[in-house]
Amino acid sequence: MVKKANDIEARFPAGGVIPKAGSAHDYQTGGWRKLRPVLDAAKCTNCLICWVMCPDSAIITEHGKMIGFDMEHCKGCGICAVECPDKVKAIKMEEEKS
């Protein structure tokens, strides 16, 4: 029992404090997704409004261009598809298959 108690003290920082930064990355929220964003790269103008608006920082960019989604963290909220400008509409939400 003492060993177990010490183990709990060591594994769970008192007060539920997370004593390091950036740990949200380790929590994979992609499993919550019901709808999946799909990018039509031919239509995308790389305005990056989706990158600004995504609440989960799940838009992946490279050299200033939108290249896809971080599907381990994308919850499928569809904000990117809504925010994509009307004249572009390069992101569509599709039913997640199982």
């Binding site: 003290e9 920082p13 008192a14 007060g15 539920g16 404090v17 997370i18 390091k20 740990s23």
Partner: protein, 396 residues
Amino acid sequence: MAITAIKGKTALTGNSAIAYAMKQINPDVCAAYPITPSTQIAEEFSSYVADGVVQTEYITVESEHSAMSACIGASAAGARVMTATSSQGLALMWEMLYVASGMRLPIVMTNVNRALSAPINIHCDHSDSMGARDAGWIQLYSETVQEGYDNLFQAMRIAEDSRVRIPAMVCLDGFITSHAIENIELIGDEDVQRFVGEFKAINPLLDVERPVTYGALALQDTYMEFKYQQSQAISRAKEVVIEVGKEFGRTFGREYGLFETYKLEDADTAIVILNSAAGTTKVAIDELRAKGVKAGLLRPRLFRPFPAVELSNALKHVKAIACLDRVDSMSGFGGPLFNDIRSAMYELDARPRIISRIYCLGGRDYKVKDAIAVFDELANVKKTGVVDELTKYITI
């Protein structure tokens, strides 16, 4: 500061003494919202801040919910934090009390005991702090102005102890103690600073070199482990209360323990009672002792965590006990002190008879004759071995 009437002593009300103790502690942050009967604590302490005699950041807030929220934020940021409240103010802090204790933030708060509405009432009973007894705060109860003053320094040490890190509440009776002027011994400012020591923050939010998260989600897989830790930590507070009480005694000449007893050693009837009413009970005991009645008293000082073994050991030789609660938990089965004491005594092979008496709610005066009437009842229980009424309202 009031005029000194006795050499070496200073005449202060309970509220002034608490505000003065806060000035001597000089916390980093105080967020408080004044409420009767603890108003003067916030009032006088804010004067100390305005006069520049403390370095405290005083946050004026729009409610007690905000007061406790600001205290939590400041404590998580790494500050030593104090506040004070009463009654509805404590009730409004409710959800934040649990956040403070769950995050293990060693905030020290004075609660000047007052009844809860409805009906509205500004006078003393223990409905407020007893309602908060399961909020995970350490609770120290104080009989006198002197004890309230002394308890505040000890509460700081207990709450901030590395084995504990749990917020602490110092309770004293509204008006009876908060507004009564008593000659008390003050401790020198430097001695106070030496006793409370420097505050060492653990995981301060303001340490930008080492960012941390407070208030993270903990679900089925981890929540219980954090609560287990909290439970272990508040249990450890008992030992720390004893240590700190002894050190306080060695340093300042007034030693404190888990509880105080009065003529209990050879008593065969006893009253268990909190705070100022213990003083009245002691007078009743003196009157009864003069007539040869072996009456005694136990006044718990530490109520949370509950020192069950020590209390039952101190009371086990008594034949009949009355637990007097200045609060009704509305369970139809007596007051909270009665239930905890009675449960603690269950482990004994030979158990005393224990009765619950609810007394003097809403500030009704508790008189010597009221205590004597209870001892008369106990004498009858002792003689016959029969308890006619297990739970009852008295002084009604």
